[in-house]
């Protein structure tokens, strides 16, 4: 099973990267490295998230980008206002995205905006 083999190789490589520092590190990292570690999470997650909102399908297009950014803003606002409630923030963001996408495509159908 060729595809399974490829997935298994990825799994092994991924596990090796996960274990690299966790299992092998026997002493704390040198100070210059330790100083950088708190910024790993924010930088990596933002590098995943921001392109997905700005260019949902690889390119910046108003009809795709505007609803996605609105959804992100709504999720952020809901998360801040509602005691960091993750499910409400997520489903609220999705709902805003559906409504905004529908609104833009409806406006496009009427010749009011980009389709």
């Amino acid at each position: 099973m060729y595809e399974l083999l490829v997935l298994a190789v990825i799994g092994l490589g991924t596990y090796a990267m996960r274990a690299a520092f966790l299992v092998m590190a026997h002493r704390s990292p040198p100070a210059p490295v330790a100083r950088l570690l708190p910024y790993v999470g924010p930088a990596v997650l933002a590098a995943i998230v921001v392109p997905a909102f700005v260019a949902p399908h690889g390119t910046i297009a108003l009809a795709e980008t505007a609803p996605a950014l609105l959804a992100a803003a709504a999720a952020w606002l809901a998360w801040r206002r509602l005691k960091r409630n993750l499910p409400i923030a997520l489903f609220g963001g999705l709902a805003v995205w559906w409504i905004a996408s529908w609104g833009i495509s409806a406006a496009g159908g009427l010749g009011l905006g980009p389709s």
Partner: protein, 233 residues
């Protein structure tokens, strides 16, 4: 309130923290499962990426590349580049896990997916009162809830793939989920700067192949965060 102010057992705390994350992961997991089922790969092989990789971003990339007929070498390369962030997570968690027994660290490594890392680092960096043993319990509890949840959600997505209406679009679920993991980490000005830089550079470099734009953004964000953090301390 005072009667309840006694320290909550760390396992309960972990369950309370992870359950909303599981719920928030539901659309992403279902959508990923449906995407896996829509490829020409046998459904169980595509789903096997869940236990093998335990990370949605790389699963999506690998299975879609295989479906498109990409050579195995490039599929492995692409998925490992996307997952290279786990190397950084591993380094960031290591100072907090150094006192754990080795065999538990091998297990902890397997559980180290984005939500597990995000919950653990938020907890470990935010409280100094937990003993190493309590930290281990917190981490393993989160992993033991998140792992079967991810297997079940992606499995359900595979089974429901043909049933879910196509008008139910869930493709924004993944970035929204990751956004909600990011927000609790924005606790300082350098952390904000790291996120803004990482996101901006990743957008500018998004034309690079194999997800290298992600790595470029991550590297730039970490550098800016470290530079600003060093200046203010």
């Amino acid at each position: 309130m005072t009667a309840l102010a006694a320290p909550t057992p760390v396992v309960h705390r972990a369950v309370r923290d992870v359950l909303p994350v599981v719920l928030a992961y539901a659309p992403f997991g279902l959508a990923l499962g449906a995407t896996l089922a829509a490829t020409h790969l046998p459904a169980w092989v595509a789903w096997a990426s869940s236990p093998l990789m335990f990370g949605g971003a790389a699963q999506l990339l690998a299975v879609q590349m295989l479906d498109a007929g990409a050579a195995g070498v490039f599929v492995v390369l692409g998925a490992l580049v996307v997952n290279a962030r786990l190397l950084l997570y591993s380094a960031a968690l290591a100072p907090h896990t150094a006192a754990w027994p080795t065999r538990w660290r091998w297990l902890a490594a397997y559980f180290m997916a984005d939500p597990v890392y995000a919950l653990a680092i938020t907890r470990f960096a935010g409280t100094d009162t937990d003993s190493p043993r309590e930290r281990l319990r917190y981490y393993v509890t989160v992993g033991l809830v998140m792992w079967p949840a991810w297997m079940g959600l992606t499995g359900a997505g595979v089974l429901l793939g043909g049933v879910l209406p196509t008008s139910l679009r869930l493709d924004l679920a993944a970035p929204l989920t990751f956004l909600l993991l990011l927000l609790p980490m924005l606790t300082s000005r350098p952390a904000y700067a790291a996120a803004v830089t990482g996101g901006t550079v990743a957008v500018a470099a998004s034309g690079l192949p194999l997800g290298l734009g992600l790595l470029a953004g991550a590297a730039a964000g970490i550098a800016v965060g470290g530079w600003l953090g060093g200046r203010h301390v």
